[in-house]
């Protein structure tokens, strides 16, 4: 158990350090997020009050697409010199490789959210009045669910030549529930605060979804690496 986390942190640390050196993934994600925000702030008049309704959707559009950008890279970067094999021949549990990748991808997306969500609020002149801890919980849970399933599928599709196309196709049906729950909960917390009870049920749904899929992916990742 201890080994599982230790190796995962080593692998996540390597990915974060690589990113720190090359700055490829997060930069691409941030540029994408910036483009989305700029596009929408011109398409809709930010001073119009009704426009606030699109903010929950925008948060998740940015999250989903920047996550996919990162997920595609996540395992492709391990194929150049068969680097993944280097981990497989070492005494590293496949689950550690999965966990390490989840941690790294999760942190990349969190960084993008940390920059883009405040930027979104400022540009659309949105004053947050709801329950902030709950909002944070929704963002973290939704992102984690998406990343944990996405990392698994990215590993799976990296063995295929058309991995960049395969990933979104596989991802779509499996992550739909968590995305729906995340958007609903975010919408309630941001603009429809009276419905808070139903937001809590969406959060519970996300919690269960995350637990089930995360454990499944963790256990099954061994078969993803099998050649």
């Amino acid at each position: 158990m201890n080994n599982l986390f230790k190796a995962a942190f080593i692998i996540a640390g390597k990915d974060l350090y690589s990113e720190w050196k090359t700055k490829q993934v997060v930069t691409t994600m941030l540029i994408f997020a910036g483009l989305v925000i700029v596009t929408f702030s011109f398409a809709f008049d930010p001073s119009n009050n009704a426009v606030r309704a699109i903010i929950p959707g925008l948060i998740w559009v940015i999250t989903i697409f920047s996550a996919i950008l990162g997920l595609n890279r996540s395992f492709l970067s391990e194929t150049k010199n068969d680097n993944l094999y280097g981990m497989i021949v070492s005494p590293t549990d496949p689950s550690s490789i999965y966990l390490g990748k989840v941690i790294a991808n999760f942190i990349f997306v969190l960084i993008v959210q940390l920059v883009s969500i405040p930027a979104l609020f400022i540009l659309f002149d949105f004053r947050f009045m709801g329950n902030f801890p709950l909002f944070l919980a929704v963002v973290v849970l939704g992102t984690f669910g998406f990343i944990s399933v996405g990392t698994f599928l990215a590993g799976l599709s990296s063995n295929s030549r058309s991995s960049e196309m395969l990933l979104p196709i596989l991802l779509f049906p499996i992550v739909s529930p968590i995305i729906i729950a995340a958007v609903q909960a975010t919408r309630i917390l941001l603009i429809d605060i009276e419905q808070i009870a139903s937001a809590i049920s969406w959060i519970q749904l996300m919690g269960v979804y995350n637990l089930v899929f995360f454990v499944l992916c963790l256990v099954l990742f061994e078969y993803v690496l099998e050649v």
């Binding site: 190796a7 150049k80 497989i88 021949v89 070492s90 549990d93």
Partner: protein, 219 residues
């Protein structure tokens, strides 16, 4: 089916050369032993431990060098070695990595990304990577490719020293001269089968070449 009925038992401390034509299945044998691919049937045992069940304990003993370097292009030799050293739980990993870089003669390039390295320089670091945890079993796939004379001598010295320390070495090679200098058993693989197993033979390049030709050009 790449391999057909490979049955091989190697004693501790043996140094074995695996010879054979391109595509014979030599790398595949090594990959199965290293746990990179799973055989459709059969099992791998090391010291009575099963590779599948006790993979943690077995893999810690194995040093694996493949055709590809396993190194990250954008990282320096030091960062690469530290990463893999940590995965193997090497103590004083920074010191060990520096010592190895020094040993393979690249201390001048410690802080350059390996992207800019030549083929032979890459191979030197790849060898350092494979032995960073002082493995008891070395699985080397064509370790001499791309190395210059000095590095070949260095590598042979490393292999001989590790043999003297009791390590077991399996080496796939096309370079008979190096095989003779370091190995005391020669296995010839053809079409996924072991066709010859030369033990206690004269370590003479002509003997080996003759045997090899007999098996390989025979059909």
């Amino acid at each position: 089916m790449i391999l057909r009925g490979i049955n091989l038992s190697i004693k501790k401390g043996e140094t074995v050369a695996i010879l054979g034509p391109n595509g014979a299945g030599k790398s595949t044998v090594l990959k199965i032993l290293g746990g990179l691919i799973k055989a459709s049937s059969g099992e791998v045992k090391v010291n009575g431990l099963d590779l599948k069940k006790d993979s943690y304990d077995v893999k810690r003993k194995i040093g694996f060098l493949a055709h590809n370097s396993f190194l990250y292009d954008h990282l320096t030799p030091l960062e690469n070695l530290k990463f893999f050293g940590k995965l193997y739980g090497v103590e004083n990993v920074e010191e060990r990595a520096k010592q190895l870089i020094d040993e393979v003669g690249l201390s001048f390039f410690t802080h350059d990304p390996v992207r800019s390295f030549s083929r032979g320089m890459m191979q030197r670091i790849a060898i350092a990577r494979a032995i960073i945890h002082q493995p008891e079993i070395l699985l080397f796939d064509e370790p001499h490719t791309g190395l210059d004379q000095q590095a070949i001598k260095l590598l042979n010295d490393v292999i001989l020293r590790m043999r003297d320390e009791g390590s077991t070495i399996l080496m796939v090679t096309h370079d008979f001269q190096q095989a003779i200098e370091t190995c005391d058993r020669f296995i010839i693989i053809k079409n996924g089968k072991i066709v010859d197993d030369l033990q206690n033979v004269e370590r003479n390049i002509d003997t080996i070449t003759e045997k090899y030709m007999e098996q390989v050009s025979g059909l």
